[in-house]
């Protein structure tokens, strides 16, 4: 195994570099004076200036943020309530409802987009922010539901019982005990939802209205027509934000993992 170690490291290093290559190029060329990417015209921030003056771009950015926030919050509420509710009552329909609610992330996006588009048209809904939020929430719910459910499984049941023993109603138990302990899972689900929604192209393309552009859509359409390095600048900024988010979320995970034990402090005998 020893001699392979070097080869393994080399492989990892090379592959990681290739993984980052496109990203690095995008960043590098965002500072390129020249409009043609193949020619290096010198270091320049002019594309950033143009970016900041591009109203349409800001409009699209705003839409994307509003959309991602709405969808992830809505998904968090629906998903969390359901995950907690299902620990208390287990109707026979639970399995199938769970399965169907997961479908949006199992179905290829193109189909989902098409399906939503036809459905919304049939219902006579106006295509716009509403349809976007509805569609995005549909594929955000699974992420939230799964993360919260996973956390619930590991949660100590006796905490809720202790609270009841001390006089708390079921509602109070939910707000005082369950919810605070679920916060990391909920946030992590929301982060995931936000990222998925923010990044979505295909589904958004199908269910958006004429006047509304989300950021990915704008980028995509511009990529197809003709690329200006303005896109590079935009991508670089988004990249910066992504890196920050990754840092923050790993910090959060570590902090919460330390502060809260999963199961009870000791494993006593169970049913006596």
């Amino acid at each position: 195994m020893r001699r392979y170690r070097k080869a393994a490291y080399l492989y990892l290093a090379v592959m990681t570099m290739i993984l980052y290559l496109p990203i690095v190029l995008v960043v590098v060329y965002s500072f390129n004076e020249s409009k043609i990417s193949s020619v290096w015209g010198g270091f320049s921030l002019k594309w950033y200036e143009i970016l900041f003056r591009d109203k349409a771009m800001f409009e699209a950015l705003k839409n994307s943020i509003v959309l991602a926030l709405s969808a992830s919050i809505l998904a968090a509420v629906i998903g969390t309530l359901a995950a907690v509710g299902f620990t208390k009552i287990i109707p026979r329909s639970k399995g199938i409802v769970e399965y169907v609610s997961m479908l949006p992330i199992m179905i290829p996006e193109i189909i989902l987009g098409m399906v939503f588009m036809a459905y919304f048209a049939m219902l006579g809904l106006r295509f716009g922010m509403l349809t976007l939020v509805l569609a995005h929430t549909a594929f955000c719910i699974p992420y939230n539901y799964m993360t919260v459910k996973a956390r619930l499984v590991g949660m100590d049941k006796s905490l809720g019982e202790a609270a009841r023993d001390l006089g708390a109603s079921e509602v109070r138990v939910f707000f005082d005990i369950t919810l605070p302990l679920l916060v990391p899972a909920i946030l992590s689900g929301m982060l995931l939802s936000f990222a998925m929604s923010f990044d979505d192209v295909i589904i958004s393309l199908f269910v958006t209205g004429v006047n509304i552009n989300t950021l990915p859509i704008k980028i995509y359409t511009q990529m197809k027509t003709g690329v200006t390095p303005e896109i590079n600048a935009l991508c670089t900024l988004i990249l910066g934000a992504t890196i920050m988010l990754v840092f923050i979320s790993t910090r959060l995970n570590r902090f919460h993992a330390k502060a809260q034990p999963e199961n009870g402090e000791r494993s006593g005998e169970n049913d006596d």
């Binding site: 496109p22 193949s38 359901a82 290829p108 549909a138």
Partner: protein, 294 residues
């Protein structure tokens, strides 16, 4: 506390408020997941109206049309591309995930973070990077010409290989993460035991490591194969009109030809294919579990 009157709240009543908690999910799933999907199936049996919209006339035509060689070919092409990409992803991603699991804990965390950044970065951004590389006189050409390996630009953009690279690149991290999570739980002392008993490194790997990481590999296959059948925008951007996938086909039918019923039929077929793949996957993992592996 003394002499306090006991309240009389029967224990059964709590179920009503609990139904309220799961109600939103039920409603949402019914109206916004089940509903649209059912509608799609219904739609696939309707007819397209002349001009715009649909006519409520039941027909099998849409499905029959799929058997037209042109469309069948698209399915086949998409399938071939998906398989090709998946194979490449396995070849590239599996070693990556496996090696990653052999790192020290510190490096594991660092590697994970390094992986997370591209993972979270918008797929469009990464796609764009490849455009820069592949376009005429793009980075790749510059390198090749600079090294005097070629005289003229290799115009890799808008070609099949470009699409393959793009797809593999977009999906490989799912495989990596999947294999990694499986390989991480591997008991390395098993390999040492095998070597002790006389197996070469390669043999030890094939008989032990591979079998035990199979679940990770398989779920990675699912996570990459299915999307690769639908990620039409990669083919669109990197392949232009040269590479037509089912995804692009569906999009065309919807947006340009306005033939919604046909698009629905294509989608249903695609979904069936996807379901079959998942079903096969479940069968395979089930049998590996029975064999006592994973």
């Amino acid at each position: 506390m003394r002499g306090k009157r006991m309240g009389k709240v029967p224990i059964k009543s709590r179920s009503y408020s609990l139904w309220l908690m799961i109600l939103p999910l039920y409603l949402f799933t019914l109206l916004l997941v089940a509903g649209p999907l059912i509608y799609m199936v219904i739609l696939s049996f309707l007819t397209r109206a002349d001009g715009w919209g649909i006519v409520n006339k039941f027909t099998f035509d849409n499905y029959i049309n799929i058997f037209d060689p042109v469309y069948l070919n698209t399915f086949v092409e998409s399938f071939r591309l998906a398989i090709l990409c998946t194979v490449l992803i396995i070849l590239i991603g599996y070693p990556f995930g496996y090696f990653m699991a052999t790192l020290s804990p510190v490096w594991k965390k660092r590697m994970m973070m390094l992986l997370m950044i591209p993972f979270w970065t918008s797929s469009l951004i990464r796609l764009y990077g490849w455009i820069i590389i592949f376009r005429a006189n793009g980075t790749l050409d510059q390198i090749l010409m600079g090294l005097r390996l070629r005289d003229t630009p290799l115009k890799l953009l808008y070609t099949y290989p470009a699409v393959v690279v793009g797809m593999v690149y977009a999906l490989v991290q799912f495989m990596i993460l999947s294999v990694y999570s499986s390989a991480e739980k591997l008991d390395w002392s098993l390999l040492e035991a095998a070597r002790d008993l006389g197996a070469s490194s390669l043999q030890a790997f094939f008989t032990i490591s591979l079998k035990l990481t199979l679940p990770g590999l398989l779920s990675g296959v699912i996570l990459t194969f299915i999307p690769s059948m639908g990620l039409f925008f990669i083919a669109d951007i990197l392949g232009g009109n040269k590479v037509v996938l089912v995804g692009s086909l569906i999009q065309d039918q919807l947006m340009k030809a306005h033939n919604w019923p046909f698009a629905a039929a294509l989608s249903v077929v695609l979904m069936l294919l996807t379901t079959i793949v998942i079903f096969l996957y479940k069968r395979i993992t089930h049998t590996t579990e029975i064999e006592g592996v994973g």
